[in-house]
Amino acid sequence: MKKQIFILLLMTAWTSLFAQAKKPTLMVVPSDNWCIKNGYTATFDEMGTLKTIPDYKLALQNETDLLMTIGKINTLMADRGFPLVNLETAIKNMEQESAEVSMMSSKAGSNLIESPIDILQRTANADIIIQLTYVINQEGPQRSITFMLQGLDAYTKKQIAGAQGTGEPSFATQTPVLLEEAVLAHIDDFNSRLQQHFDDLFANGREVVFQSRVFDGSPIDLEEVFNFKNEELELGEIIENWISENTVQGRFSTTTYTQNVIRFEQVRIPLYDDKGRANDTRRWLRDLRNLLSKNPFNLTSKIYTRGLGEVWLIIGEK
């Protein structure tokens, strides 16, 4: 028995020692501004309103300079030990996956189930989007490049890193050379800021967004009052208290509070759970779901995640 306990303790210690936080994925994409200016867009009708979105596939197929710039950034980041998700490969993989999902069937002829939300989530995505914009400036015979990299947190929508500037005007330099110089000139400053963001993450926890919502079939809403720990509180307030107790230094802000939706932003969740395991939004929220499934609540709820950075708890049904 003692031996078993010892082995268990050893395993726990081993896990804690080598636990690593979930690594965010990064991907370089051309900015909407660049795509629209260069005509790489697709238009679709959304409930009577025409919407223009960037067409990354078309841009990558036609613009060698763009492909080269993304490739250069990817190479430099890989050299730094932080390989990025490649946009072109991600798009191809998504198309391939779609084809496979629609074609696959069992021996008995059953198809794979995919809800509309599964289809919606099957998009090329990353936790941090590196948005790339460049403009070639022509002034008489001289050319220069204005270059901008923006590191955008896909969930908090904050710009967490950036580097931009206009290069030295030149008479003879070709566009690919100008672009390569611009990447080399800006990538280190960009990475320095990115590292600052990671340092903040380790010190203050990962910043996520949490929403609590209610299914329309739910018997209660978020203003339902419960007697919990000798206090008469609304369900929303109980959730708020739970968040306060389970965030780094109680950091979060409540931005919306209605009977159907409560939205918490700047929620700082610890990178590791109390057992030293890497934490993510689903794992973090599991305890709240378990709490609500017990007395006095006895509620069924569903956890819905949006990447590493956003999680919803939907009350009433699974």
Binding site: A21, R80, E168, E181, L184, A185
Partner: protein, 171 residues
């Protein structure tokens, strides 16, 4: 007689203050050559992968010493100051951003910046060796030259020494 004593006392007091001040200056100079932060540096452009070109000035009692000091200054600027003047293309942020890191890792940097130390591996003359030379006083020269700094290799050296973190360290 009394006024004479007062005069001597004031004189001694002023002498003591001057002596303290001089000793502080000397101490700074002895601490390490790279500590003096009054050098000028400007960006000359982006070099090959992981390098940048700068024009940097150094001071010394003879032109050779000043040229060596300029090399130290170039590396020091990339490490602790960033290059914020001149043409675009250089890192405006320093490699070491942690406040007080220079003091915290004093031993490492003292060894790194010793005459003929490791810092020389990361800096080289970028042209044919021509320098701008200004004679400031009879005993002081100011020498400026264009140098190429291998900032990517410098960063790797600091990462290996544990002075700065690797990108995404801990994930």
């Amino acid at each position: 007689m009394k006024s004479g004593l007062n005069f001597i006392a004031i004189g001694l007091f002023l002498f003591a203050i001057t002596a303290c001040k001089t000793s502080k200056v000397n101490k700074d100079a002895v601490m390490a050559g790279y500590v003096s932060g009054n050098y000028e540096i400007e960006c000359m452009g982006t070099g090959m992968d992981g390098t940048q070109l700068v024009k940097v000035w150094g001071f010394g009692t003879d032109p050779e010493k000043a040229a060596y000091q300029a090399r130290k200054n170039a590396v020091h600027a990339v490490l602790f100051k960033g290059i914020n003047a001149g043409k675009p293309g250089c890192m405006t942020r320093p490699l070491v951003t942690q406040p007080g890191a220079e003091e915290l890792h004093r031993e490492f940097f003292n060894t790194f910046f010793t005459d003929g130390g490791r810092y020389l591996s990361f800096v080289s003359m970028a042209n044919d060796g021509t320098v701008d030379r200004i004679k400031m006083t009879s005993k002081e020269y100011k020498v400026g030259s264009v140098m190429s700094i291998r900032h990517a290799a410098l960063r790797q050296e600091l990462e290996a020494a544990g002075i700065i973190k690797k990108l995404g360290q801990g994930f």
